[in-house]
Structures are given as C-alpha cells and as structure tokens.
Subunit: 428 residues, 2 copies
C-alpha cells in the first residue's frame, strides 16, 4: 500500500549573468569552469545537469524577460517593457493595464539663455537637458515625488514614487492607453527633451498625457522648497521628471496559485524584486545584499534557509556574476562564483534535508563581450527524485553532456513543481 | 576595465540534402559518416555540435521552406508556394501581395485534329498538351516573354520573364487576388490543359485571370516569329505558357535590418537565389557553380572568403549532396561531401581568423529514399565564443551526442547573431 505522497520544497538559485564563453586568459575555460566550486561540483555529481536557453536558442535575454521565462511565462507574450516591474519593485500599486515608466529626476536649463516653455499645440515642455540625474540628487526626492503623485491629466490618474537616488517610478492609469510611445528622455545632455509620439490612437493618447505630465512636472517641481534649497547650496535643481522604459502591466496572475506553492523572493535588484512583487511572492529584503560584488551572500544564504521554514518555493537572484561580466573582469567573476559556491554550501548544510535545488543563470554575460549573451547557461538540479547523470562538475562544457539536455527557461518552473510533487496532473 | 565589445563575422554553409540514414552498403554508416572529412571533423572537435530539425521533428522540408526557417522565419506562416522565390530568383520585381508562378513554355497540339479554342464561359484555353517543355526550347524565349510581359487582364497587371531553357516566371499584381487556385499545367502530355479554379472568391478572381492569361499566351505566342522559325526548322513551337507553383509574396522585410548584418548570398539554384534576392541579400553569382555534381566548390569557397571582406554574414548553399541523394547514389554523395570538406578547408585557411562558421544541411535527402526526408540534420558550430563539446567527428551519429542537443532551423540565425555580438537585447 502506498503511503501519503511526499511533497518537497525547492529553491531556484539564479546566478545573474552566470553563463560565459571560453576565455583565452583562462586557457579556454569559462569563469565558472575555472572557479573552484567544490559544493556545486558535488551537487552536479549527485544530481542532473543540462544547458538552458533562457528564452530560446541564441536569443539575448534581459534579466526581466529571462526571469519571467524561468517563472513559467512567455516573455514574447507578456513583456512590453521594464516599467511595470520597476514600479512594482518600489512597491507601487501596479495593476493590469497600467502604463508604467522608470523616471529620472533631471535638470533642465532655466536661465536667460534657455527659458523652458510649453508648446501650445501639444502641451509638451520645450526645454534643454542640463543633467539627466539632477546633480545625482540623494535626498528630498520623497517630497518631490509627493508633489507629483495623485495629479490627474485628461482624466488619467498619475501615480508617482521616488526610488533610489535620482530614480522614480510613474504609473498612468486610465481607459484606452496604449504603450507604443516614443521616448521623452533624450538620453543626452545639452539636447532638447523629445516630444513623445504614439504609434496608434491609444498610444497617441498616452503620448499626449505623457508630454503634459513632463510639462507639469517642471511647473510643479521648479518652485518646491527642496529645489530652492538645492540652488541655494549651489546644487542643480531636480526641476523635471523624465520617463523612459515604458511598458504595460500584463495579466500574470498569482505565482503561488498558479503553481501550488508558497513563494518567497530574495533578490538584490529592484527590477527582479518587482517581478516577485508583481507575482505576489513574499519579498525578503536582506541586509548586506547590495547588488554589487561586495554583497553578503552568506546573509542571503541564511535568508533562503529561513524563508524555507515557512515557504515551499524560494526564488533567489545573486547579482554579482553579471556585474563582473559587464566589467569584463574574469577574475572578479571567478571570485564571486566561488562566493556563491560557499553560499550554496550554507544552503545545503543548513536548509531542509530534502530540498530540491536548481542552480543556473538568467543569461550569459560573457566577460569578453561585456554584455548579455544569448548562449546556453549551465543548469544543475539536485534533490530527491533526480536521477544522477555522469556529469561531475558544474560548468558550460560539462553540463553540455548532462542528462537534462538542452531546454528553455519556460520549462524550469514545471520541472521544479513536478519534483516537489505539487503540480496537478494535466489529463487523466 | 571592459574594452570595446568585439563583433564577429559569420558564414552559414548549407550543404543541400546533407543528412542521411544508415546505408547497408556503407556498413550502416551514413554517407557523411563514411566520407573522409578531416577538416569538418577537426572543426567538430574544436567546436560544438548537435542535431537540427529544419522545420520541426519529422517534418519533411523543401529547400525553400527550410532555408526560410534557417534564416529565422516560420514557413508555416510565410510560405504559400515557391512562385515568389522562383520569380525573385530571376530578378523579377516581386512585391508583397503579388501572386507568383513558375511557368513552362509548352506546346499544345494545333492541327486539324486538335484545334485549340477558347471556352466562352470561362475564357480558358481548351487545348491538348503535346510537349511540356516546347521541344526543350533553348533560345528566343526572351522574345516570347517580352510579348507577354506588361499585358493587363481584368485590371490585373501581368509581369512575365524568361528563365533558363523552357522556364519562366509570372507575376499577377492587382487588388484582391487569392492564392488558392488549382493547377493549369496537367503535368502530362496528350492531356487537356486544366481549367484553374479558386477555393474562395479572391482566389476565383485569380483563377479567372490565370485562365485568360493562358488563353492569351496561346493567341500571342503562336504567331510570333520565333515560333514560325521553329516550325520551319521542324521544331515544336512554344505556343503556350503553363503556370504552376503558385504562391503569394509574403512580408519578410530586409534580412540585414532584421538581423543587424550585411549579408551576401552565394548559392547554386534559382530558388534559393530567389530567397536571397527577396530578403535583400547581396547576390554573388559564382562562375563554375553549376548546381550539379561537377560544381566548382573551390570557386564557391573563394567567393565566400571574398564576400566576407565586405559583408558580415554569408549564406552559402552547395547543392551537390541533394543531387546525389535524389539519384540514390551513396558513392557520389560521399564524393561531393569530401569536395565540400576541401572547400571548408579553403574557407578556414583563407577566411577571417575569427569567423563563426556553421555547417549543416537544409534537410536530409537519404540515398535509400531518393527524396527529401524529415530527419534531423547534423549541425556544427565553430568559432570564437563556442564552448567545445566532446564530439570529435561530423556525422549524424556523433552529433547526436553534441552539446547543442536537438533544436530547430528557426534557432539558427539567432544563434549566429548572438555569437557575432550584433543581436540587441530583449528586455533589460
């Protein structure tokens, strides 16, 4: 007689930008292959390995599109831009259909030579960018944001919230808003702010509201006390808000309900945090998780162990390898991978005994490229129910001979909920 | 500090009909496995390998549908027939929406016993085919084509151009033309020309125009000087044009813009040349590239090397293996594969040092079948950024253990533009 079906907990550890290509200075090895990773090698030997294309073979993924894929969604269907996840990442109330933007508090020239004006036809601000980060403003942005939050333009509600330093989030909520709008932020100084245009009638409505919002941000921000004080101190005023990264909030539902789990999200960047928030995962912010190469990965490991006490699924993103990849620094990438290996040791030693652990990357960030690649990323699966293959090391080359073969990011969540024994049967 | 991101050039060498199945006379090896291919084996050892299904597992691909897939398109969406690519292959001006055909100059009986007539109801020609290739006419077809080119039928523009020998291309351009029309060419002699029928109203319009065109071709061609002279010489007159292979020209855009490359196309057959023309690749016609087993593959290799000087992507199709496969001649297939190996040696030795080279087939043409198969085709990827796998020979069997696993044709172009470092990121 069969006993009660056992269920297991799982952790999906995504090492951001982990994948790489052969590096001449490493004798043709990748940083992961060159790194000393005794724990992950042991898990590879005990478990199964393979190569995963986050989106599909060759497609160069962003961190947002790849995380959506790894969590079971088709980014070609649900992703239109980073805005919704950036806004969710700073705990704004993002709802399906909202048109969302990242924003920079910036400075436009405002002197005898360059006087900002409003274009009577479009309502857009005509002004020239002096500094895209408003003198790298650090404080007072909460007061600036509060002055913009809640205004209404042509019947569209504006939500606005400050993020870190000069950054902020903007949500436009209203009927019939399209997302195909061109940029406002010219991404350069001494250049006029661009006037947003819409590619279709709904997006033209968004463009009109967006242009008026930028104009309004100038009118409201320039006279605020925060800015008067900055000018008095010889600093640049944050006298305009420049949106970019538009995207419409998609219908993704609740990750927990969809996958029959109770999920926690332990990450280091606002963008991935936003995906966790948006999917209704419990967010665990870890002190010392800086998003940089100095991040306290042991603290993150302990947070994963703690979260597994009252969750069945933990998504964790460790950002370091991507930083080192963007820096083109193979030695730094090796070092952070070795720190990740030590963190994995903590998870294995202190976490639940029957943990299903998947370790992979969200994309490659080859040090020789210095940016994301569309290469396959090594994937390691360990825990109860996993048939071991012959691979005994965690790396791009070894995993190419693994029993999981090549697969895509969208396969990962079902692979985990399968081993957890929580996924309902499809069919009879 | 990260340096400037390097970019690389790539060549996609498609050996037409390369794939095969175990051949008893070769001791159970495939022709590729039996062939002596030291260069491709070395590249397999240094690079990564896998098995590619041109369309999807088991689907028997044509050369046109597979090349479209390998170049990044879904042939189920964009392909309705070979007509547009045949017409583009002879440098006709094919535009999106055109309904295009291949055409044979043919002979219908025209004597006391068989007098061609026009059906008063449909306007179609009632006549009996005497020879589908008009006595294998070789000269004068330019004058015949000129007499048909530019006529108008029911407001539809007719473009007509001669190709090689008895072949030609026909384009119908006009509003509301459908492509679901039945054949006119009965593909047999001593048989009446069929009357085209349309499966829907738009296609019925095309059928009506097509039937009238065939009738008109008889009326115009029979009295032309070229035909009078042929009859005087005891040859069959090319007194009718019989269209087949209907297809509507799809919206594919510009391959260069779509993939951020500057592409050259070096091929041996009009059909694949037409795909290159249609995608706005630069066409390089190589003297000695005959499309047969006698083709000068070294000349093609040198043309690839030359094209790589001022292009970033070269598509090359070497036709020979498909010919040998259709002939059911395993030894001929081995011989042409060995000639391809020697051509690859030239590309590697004389081409750019950091070339990304992919070698594969567009489909199998198993010698025991004598026609295209839907088998997986061996795939070899070599160059900077490719992590080597354990495979050390290029063949159907060895590539089945490669790290690229099994994938489909539509993955190939993104895999190449990824390694070239020219593909933009999808997401943030």
């Amino acid at each position: 007689m069969a006993g009660k079906m056992p269920t297991y907990k799982s952790a999906l550890l995504i090492c951001d930008g982990l994948g790489d290509r052969p590096v001449a200075a490493l004798g043709g090895k990748t940083p992961l292959e060159a790194a000393n990773t005794p724990t992950m090698d042991r898990l590879a030997a005990e478990g199964a390995t393979g190569l995963m294309y986050p989106i599909s073979p060759g497609i160069v993924a962003g961190s947002d599109t790849s995380h959506l894929a790894l969590l079971g969604f088709d980014p070609f269907e649900c992703y239109s831009g980073r805005g919704p996840f950036e806004c969710a990442g700073i705990d704004m109330d993002v709802r399906q259909g909202d048109v969302c933007f990242r924003v920079n508090f910036s400075t436009v020239y405002d002197d005898a030579e360059h006087t900002p004006s409003i274009d009577p036809e479009t309502g857009a601000l005509k002004a020239t960018v002096q500094d895209r980060r408003a003198g790298r403003i650090e404080t007072g942005t909460d007061q600036l944001a509060a002055a913009l939050n809640g205004i209404e333009i042509d019947g569209v509600q504006v939500q606005f919230k400050e993020s870190v330093a000069h950054r902020a989030g903007l949500i436009l909520r209203g009927e019939g808003l399209g997302q195909n709008v061109s940029d406002v932020d010219p991404h350069a100084v001494d250049t006029e702010i661009w006037i947003a245009k819409g590619a279709d009638p709904a997006s033209q409505k968004t463009a009109t509201v967006l242009n008026k919002f930028v104009a309004k941000s100038y009118e409201i921000l320039k006279d605020l006390e925060v800015n008067k004080q900055r000018v008095a101190e010889g600093k640049l005023p944050a006298n305009v808000a420049l949106p970019r990264g538009v995207g419409t909030a998609p219908a993704l539902g609740d990750f927990n309900e969809r996958n029959h789990v109770k999920a926690a999200c332990i990450v280091e960047t606002g963008l991935i945090r936003g995906i966790g928030v948006y999917l209704n995962m419990d967010i665990v912010d870890v002190e010392g998780a800086t998003g940089g190469l100095d991040s306290d990965l042991q603290a993150m490991a302990r947070a994963i162990v703690a979260a597994l006490a009252d969750h069945t699924f933990v998504l964790c993103n460790m950002k370091g390898p991507d930083i080192a990849g963007h820096d083109g620094d193979a030695q730094a990438k090796i070092k952070i991978i070795e720190a990740i290996d030590a963190a994995v040791k903590t998870i294995i030693e202190e976490g639940p005994q029957d943990l299903i652990l998947a370790i992979t990357g969200d994309h490659s960030t080859p040090v020789d490229k210095g940016d994301h690649g569309g290469d396959a990323v090594p994937f390691l699966l360990h825990g109860p129910g996993v048939t071991p293959d012959r691979v005994t090391a965690f790396g791009e080359g070894p995993c190419g001979a693994g029993s999981l073969g090549t697969f895509v990011g969208q396969n990962v969540t079902p692979m985990l909920t399968n081993l957890m024994n929580v996924q309902p049967k499809f069919g009879a």
